[in-house]
């Protein structure tokens, strides 16, 4: 949440890259096939724009910015979780037996994260819902997404997937999750927190840019080898959300 020039440049670069990739997907008619990518990019763009707008209108230390920041962060982690679910579905297109286990595992994981965050909140019930539960939930789900993404990567190796594009999309998502998860932990471990918070903000933006570059490469240069099973197309996001 820093206001430095470097932070501003990174934020602008992020917004431009997200918008450019969305425009590319729209112009190529890839909305349906790259549903998860488009959905997550849309959420990222909305988040960045909402934060920038409120920051400009109300200032960094305003309560409005605080609420918008953490609400959009909540939206982001939920969309990241849905994107991971979609990638799991795409990986398991030919592995229906595997998908049966995975579709059980994914909602259970979400319930577990909600339960753990709620228990931690109940132990600290005197604190505000927003300043404790949402922050705790976001951080827990972020790390869970990183673990799920790594499991997905291992699954791709196990089933010897030939879908190179999915492999790169998973790697991009891994970069997007791993950097911020590490800096969240650093903020917890550092007593002064000021340096860690500034580092956290920069690392998050750099990781988002890195992930966007990897996704852009995957979408533009790597052939989509997602398998079509018995006339079915790659599932759209709503279909996956409906399954879980």
């Amino acid at each position: 949440m820093d206001n430095s020039i470097a932070g501003l440049v990174l934020q602008c670069a992020g917004i431009i890259s997200e918008a450019a990739l969305i425009v590319y997907l729209a112009r190529r008619g890839l909305w349906k096939r790259q549903g998860a990518v488009a959905f997550y990019l849309g959420c990222l763009l909305l988040t960045e724009l909402a934060r920038a707008g409120v920051l400009y209108a109300n200032g960094l230390n305003s309560p409005q910015y605080f609420y918008v920041y953490w609400s959009t962060d909540f939206l982001l982690v939920i969309s990241a979780f849905l994107a991971v679910c979609f990638f799991f579905r795409r990986a398991c297109l030919r592995e229906e037996r595997m998908w049966r286990y995975v579709r059980l595992l994914l909602p259970l994981t979400l319930i577990l994260v909600v339960a753990i965050s709620s228990i931690l909140f109940l132990h600290n019930y005197h604190k505000l819902f927003f300043s404790y539960f949402v922050v705790e939930f976001n951080q827990n789900l972020y790390f869970t997404c990183l673990v799920l993404n790594t499991l997905l990567y291992l699954l791709l190796q196990y089933i010897e997937s030939t879908d190179d594009q999915l492999g790169l999309l998973v790697c991009g998502l891994g970069i997007q999750f791993a950097g911020p998860a590490a800096t969240f932990a650093l903020v917890h471990l550092t007593p002064g927190e000021a340096f860690a918070r500034s580092l956290s903000s920069t690392v998050m933006r750099l990781c988002t840019l890195g992930a966007l570059f990897v996704w852009a490469y995957a979408v533009m240069h790597v052939q989509d080898k997602a398998i079509r099973v018995a006339g079915h197309d790659v599932p759209v996001l709503a279909e996956v959300a409906g399954h879980i």
Binding site: F143, A181, A182, L189, F213
Partner: protein, 158 residues
């Protein structure tokens, strides 16, 4: 406290893991033919012979000379990537990522040498990055038509 430290270590390790896997996946790109050979010959690059000597003969490593060879080839190829048959005169995103990966592996080679483990693996990774760069340059030069000029003629006239 312990949990946070564990997350920090695990996430940092995963970040570098995903970075490496991404670069390896980009390097796996198939070219329709071996474009790198003409670039290697025209510029007298040394990485193919270095890789051959390591893979086939298991020759002992002369570290200072090896470092110099890799660095010279890297500088020549990055210059060509930017300037040879490149209308934009700038690196693409994946080239930037691979340049970063090369520097990271170069640093890793120095650390591995200090520890005395896995030097050969790092050198082979470095040569595979250089081969990718040479393939990209070769492909670009190949697509540009210069009348009767050959690839080496074009490069010598740069």
């Amino acid at each position: 406290m312990i949990f946070a430290a564990l997350i920090l270590i695990l996430s940092t390790a995963l970040f570098f893991f995903y970075f490496q896997v991404t670069c390896q996946r980009i390097l796996r790109r198939q070219f329709d033919r071996e474009y790198f050979q003409s670039i290697v010959n025209a510029n007298r690059l040394e990485f193919p012979s270095l890789r051959k000597s390591l893979e086939e003969f298991g020759a002992p490593i002369d570290y200072p000379r090896l470092r110099m060879m890799l660095k010279c080839d890297f500088l020549a190829l990055t210059y060509l990537l930017k300037n040879a048959a490149n209308l934009n005169q700038r690196y693409s995103r994946e080239e930037r990522l691979l340049i970063l990966y090369f520097r990271w592996q170069f640093l890793s080679l120095a650390v591995r040498r200090l520890l005395g483990v896995g030097e050969k693996k790092a050198i082979l990774k470095l040569t595979s990055i250089l081969q990718y760069f040479a393939n990209v340059v070769g492909q670009r030069v190949d697509t540009v038509k210069f009348g009767n000029l050959t690839v080496s003629d074009y490069l010598l006239n740069l």
